[in-house]
Amino acid sequence: MNAGLKLLLTIWIAIEISFVTNLTVNLVVIGVSLIILLFTKIKWQSLFKLFFWPLFPAAGLLVSQLFYGNGGPLFAWILFTRIYAYVLVGAIFTETTDLTTLALTLEQNFHLPAKFAYGVLAAFNLLPKIVEQVKTIKTAGLMRGVVLHFWSPQLYFKAILASISWSENLAEAMTSHGFVEGQRRSHRYPTRLNYLDWGLFIAVIIAFQLLIWVATNSQSLF
């Protein structure tokens, strides 16, 4: 599916499950997402992480509702499964999409101005360098006997200084490679958004509404 539509679908589903308080819906979303994830040949290790880390916030919400909530155990379990539904739906998106494809399709098919698509993409491509930079700043601090924590203004200050100089360099580099703001562009890698994508998108949305409708109208079964 087209990466932009996939993002829209992910956000759409996540918003709907936030407002539909129904255990069946959450469980079906988790089940279907898991099957899709297994088809993407996700590594077992990543799958384990997907289930392990959300356990903390999910269990936290569960216990808290059981102790102090007025919604009863069913409501508490809905909150518990909701977290997993978010995480698994999100994982389908991140496992099957890379940022470059997303940026390209947002620019070509969704009318996002090129400067946003390529500017943000350029910044995200620096991610490994940014990780390095945070370490460098912290180490440089240590050499002067200063420990920089996440609450130290100096850490952010130095990070912003690096951002300012890098953004200037990147923008200049892009301009010297022929990037002109607001100019029409031709595309080396055209992305597609065809009827099949739209059909699938609408089909998933309709199926999801049906699921919600069936689940909320057959509460007596559960």
Binding site: F67, Y68, L170
Partner: protein, 186 residues
């Protein structure tokens, strides 16, 4: 920063600051897990969320202050949360929505003060709008609507203090450093 407009350079700058912030918060993720583990047996785990809320909402006011264009706080906050999605945070897809919600919250403060008050007034408005809007979101998402009044007041005050400390105080300290070093050439 003589011309404040959506130039390529400014967009990259917003994205870079957002990624830096996203990364630093992601690094502090262990703190959230530790807090949650400690508070879960007491049933107080939502406090872990609200204690750290301000930290996650820092990218917005910071980018909003540095790049003074309507929409920059929103973009910064949203991209900061997108970093967490791609690094694999605990919240999965809902981090996108949290980013949207927090982005709107941060932005609204600057909007309400007409994008003219880049001082304590604008920052306070941003703190307040962020707290209220993110709280409203958790009202639905995290089932806050089922808690008693005492718990709700406690959570709200905790969130307000956290947002004040991180998105307010810390942001102000950072921007003071920036102003003093005159790197922003205003």
């Amino acid at each position: 920063m003589k011309q404040q407009r959506w130039s390529l350079r400014n967009i990259i700058l917003i994205a870079l600051i957002a990624i830096f912030c996203g990364l630093i918060f992601w690094g502090a993720g262990f703190l959230y897990t530790a807090l949650t583990v400690a508070l879960t047996p007491l049933g107080m785990a939502p406090y872990a969320n609200d204690i750290l809320m301000g930290l996650w909402c820092m990218a917005g006011p910071l980018t909003g202050y540095i790049i003074r264009i309507p929409g920059s706080a929103f973009l910064g906050e949203f991209l900061g949360s997108a970093v967490e999605v791609f690094l694999g945070g605990q919240w999965g897809a809902s981090a996108f929505i949290s980013g949207l919600v927090q982005g709107i919250g941060s932005e609204l403060g600057f909007t309400l003060t007409g994008y003219k008050h880049y001082d304590w007034l604008g920052l306070s408005a941003s703190i307040l709008s962020t707290t209220i809007i993110t709280f409203a979101w958790d009202w639905f998402r995290s089932g806050y609507n089922q808690y008693g009044a005492l718990m709700l007041i406690g959570l709200f005050v905790t969130r307000l203090i956290s947002t004040f400390v991180f998105a307010g105080l810390l942001t102000r300290l950072i921007t003071n450093l920036l102003d003093r070093s005159q790197v922003l050439n205003r």
